[in-house]
Symmetry: C2
Subunit: 212 residues, 2 copies
DNA sequence: GTCTATAGACTGATAGAC
DNA sequence: GTCTATCAGTCTATAGAC
């Protein structure tokens, strides 16, 4: 097995296992068994378990952010520099939701890994997460451009809640399915995105109306 | 130290540490050090680490559910058997939000422990969590009674999203504070409850209007 | 680069004196 | 009930042969 294959095999096996079972429950022995490589290979290629997790997180974090910003840029170009609020919010929650709930299995591991990483605060990730704040500020800024008459506070809360709805749906969709006796359909990702975006937009416009 | 004091000291130390650092990072040695009791005391009083966690979770779970149902009952009595949708949603998210973000520190540990327990799926907790679904169904039923003309699916999604907003605010309020440069005030708990309830109600009534 | 073997440091749990 | 001492198991990380 070539060097690059070993590295890649470790990365994808680790991501799959971490996504499914969390960081605490997955040992390096589990990873090397799943990747069919030697135990020492992890430390050779990554230095330590934490550095392996950090590499996964950085890679995926950059990829997700890039995808979001691409959608945001497309929305702003289409709208002549100022995009509709719907398109901005869809660019924010769409990539992650499609990755986790959609049919693509490999992406699903990636997205579920990121959700887990954002929950189980492991030391190497905590540092990187601070950059996420800057990324979200770009979306908040775009939202302010789209709705110049709205309070910045309301926009921040709305952005926060939109992410909350998306993440909880990914993390605990099973509970929703049980509670609704299967009425709520988690397979129709676009409908979920529309629902979250709709509620968020309504929260902003409704609040503005209430003040007028 | 009397037997009951030791038991209680272990419980409260464990809850505090788990709330702050998660299950994986807190060892039994950490707990007994914080509680100032002997290492063997945990196994003597609880049998195992998992049973200690389970006891904490069951106790708090029952307490939170009781508090929610009390508020729900009060709302239904006040409304003459059919409570306003606002009051039902406030009964759902209020107890947890007040516990976590309010000034009361002991309650804060309890609520943050529950949030963590609902995230980091440890074996003994997973079984108990299924009962939570039945608990939520009672709120969904109350919401259907309050809004008999609404789709059950929309009500289920709204309940799911209301919990999502509350949990994310508790779990990652720090990010919101950073992102908004301190504009979003996490200390005014009632305002947060009102905001979440307001958005949820609007999501339901707005959707009904859109269909009409 | 890949492997075996093992070091060194934890963990949860328990036996037995008091 | 409380304690000390310790077990057996697990983990990550590494040294050194190939």
């Amino acid at each position: 097995m070539a060097a690059d294959d070993t590295r890649t095999a470790i990365l994808s096996a680790a991501e799959r296992l971490y996504a499914a079972r969390g960081f605490a429950d997955v040992t390096m022995r589990d990873i090397v068994a799943a990747a069919d490589v030697n135990l020492a290979a992890v430390n050779y290629h990554f230095g330590s378990k934490d550095e392996l997790i950090a590499e996964l997180f950085v890679t995926r974090s950059l990829a997700t952010n890039r995808e979001r910003l691409n959608e945001l840029k497309a929305a702003e170009e289409h709208g002549g520099g100022r995009s509709h609020i719907d398109a901005i919010l869809a660019a924010l929650v769409g990539p992650t939701l499609r990755g986790c709930l959609g049919p693509d299995k490999q992406r699903s591991d990636a997205a579920r890994f990121m959700i887990r990483a954002s929950i189980e605060s492991i030391p190497p990730i905590r540092k990187i997460k601070n950059r996420e704040v800057d990324h979200l500020k770009r979306f908040a800024a775009a939202m302010r451009r789209a709705l110049p008459d709205h309070d910045a506070v309301d926009i921040d809360w709305t952005l926060h809640f939109a992410l909350a709805m998306a993440h909880q749906t990914i993390r605990d969709g099973e509970r929703l399915t049980k509670m609704s006796d299967g009425r709520c359909d988690l397979n129709d990702v676009q409908a979920i995105i529309d629902r979250i975006v709709g509620i968020s937009v309504q929260a902003l416009t409704g609040r503005a109306k209430a003040r007028a």
